[in-house]
Symmetry: C2
Subunit: 335 residues, 2 copies
Amino acid sequence: MAVSIRDVAERAGVSVGTVSNVLNRPDRVSDAVVGRVHDAIRELGYVRNDAARQLRAGRSSSVGLVVLDARNPFFTDIARGAEDEAAEHGVAVLLGDSDEKPEREAAYLDLFEEQRVRGVLVSPLGDIRERLERLRALGTPVVLVDRMAEDDVLSSVSVDDHAGGRTAVTHLLEQGRRRVAFVAGPLAIRQVADRLAGARDAVAAVPDATLEVLEGTALSVLEGRRMGEALAARPASERPDAVFAANDLLAVGLLQALVMRGEVRVPEDVAIVGYDDIDFAAATVVPLSSIRQPSRLIGQTALRILLEEADDPGLAPRQVVFQPELVVRESSAIG
Amino acid sequence: MAVSIRDVAERAGVSVGTVSNVLNRPDRVSDAVVGRVHDAIRELGYVRNDAARQLRAGRSSSVGLVVLDARNPFFTDIARGAEDEAAEHGVAVLLGDSDEKPEREAAYLDLFEEQRVRGVLVSPLGDIRERLERLRALGTPVVLVDRMAEDDVLSSVSVDDHAGGRTAVTHLLEQGRRRVAFVAGPLAIRQVADRLAGARDAVAAVPDATLEVLEGTALSVLEGRRMGEALAARPASERPDAVFAANDLLAVGLLQALVMRGEVRVPEDVAIVGYDDIDFAAATVVPLSSIRQPSRLIGQTALRILLEEADDPGLAPRQVVFQPELVVRESSAIG
DNA sequence: CCCTGATGGTGAATCGTTTCAACGACGAGA
DNA sequence: TCTCGTCGTTGAAACGATTCACCATCAGGG
């Protein structure tokens, strides 16, 4: 277990400094020695100790990423994008799933701080602006993901949720729907609140349209099913004729509860639009209309900005905002 | 940035040893001193340096987990289970996604070795048995996930894929189907091969039943769509009347290609059974029959075994095998 | 009044790597 | 022959937390 650089040096008949050079700047070492050292490494099964390396370097070569929900394909795709970009720079991504719980979010940030990560990507949940700004002030770059920074201290890569919400509901209204419900999930989540604001805008533009807000406790399939059952249990006259779901997981749950029961037809009785356009959206009972976000690109871009800021701490914070895109499928087609 | 335990000691007017004691064994320190040290920590914004801690300790307090595909909800659920269990023991889980690529798998194992993780959970892809056994021999426990160990050197937590394959195809045959196709993904993946073996068993038990094997390159929605398009393009007489898909992602892709085109009806023309019973399976165009695996429990169990072996290296390897369960939905109902 | 044990605290050694000043050897140029 | 620069190599310091042998103080028992 305990084979260190010292053992390698001894075996190869050189000093530890030389072994380190072989590992990090082989060009400064003669070929003969490089060969001997590599032989010794192989024979002894030496594996570099990253802790010592980091201790000396003062910081790790990893970046941290905290997402709201690792089970949501939207965030998995962001993570994938970030990992791709990271791999190109020889950086590892530590993935933390806050599971929409502020205390888990805080725990991951603690962990990342103790690890002295090169930077932090975070899709923030609780009110941690102050903490993140302090982190950055102390030299650890922070990039907000899927959420616009509120002031110009931090960089962010996000999607225009307000526009997304407006687009979704405008589309529903154009289909002739008037009694729209927003199946929200937790309104405390900024993205949800922004989508709601966009939805309100769209509804305000059409005189006889109404918007009902149904707040839930999570952005999951299970919660969607729960809310769908509540809707299905209503008398038909009190049901909305259109539902805008805060994300596709909720929408999938809604579909399960509404369509499977057979009482409510989609889109005839209720049209549905989801958000994120996850892979599964095209394969649901009734293929789901959705608002597409460039998830992978978000991850890539965020990581690139993070590394740039890590290399040059003086860089001014940047806000990148992508535009979402409506994808129409059967769940909201004319009916 | 560089506030160390020494700075805290100085500020609190005690020695570094005492600060360390406050952090790790507060009961050995007087209350007054504990208070002063905590004040100093707060005032200076001290954050423990994990690298130094690990260096001294000789190993980290993290475990590594390498999964085949982080986008597959089955593996996300395993990860979730492992994290839950880890959180209870104050251990962090480093998640690596091999993306079905042997070189990425190897890279993550390298990384975990350098980090001196407490142990490794791995859903192995390539032929890395030897490497894993060496790792374990050197003191790092290894638990195979979703795959039974081939000899008794490593522990494993898996599901009986052979039984799962047999169950799935037996069910299709009981529905009166005879021309079964196995949409496989890469046969080099052990789980896929085992499911195929089970399927062969089931087919062999029925005289006039046949099994066609369609090998693919990945276990993804996209690949499923590709293979579904190939099936749909065949003349009806040459199409199978039942498909067993190696996992639900493939099955979802198949559904997209078959049903969306409108030419092939499910289950009337082709019955489909998937594998994993992911959340989305119940919400697909035609709700998908599937083989359910206790994914979360797999993750939990694997992590528990890992930590037990880490605490007591002498422990004999254990093989835990769960039984899968058929969930019948419309995609394979009588038709 | 001395001894014992418990309690609370100290400070140096240690973990494994990287870095850097310094050094020897050697060839080229004067 | 002497000097200088280059190249390859060395060895010790440094990173920051933990641990452990050791010390100081004090209360209580004899």
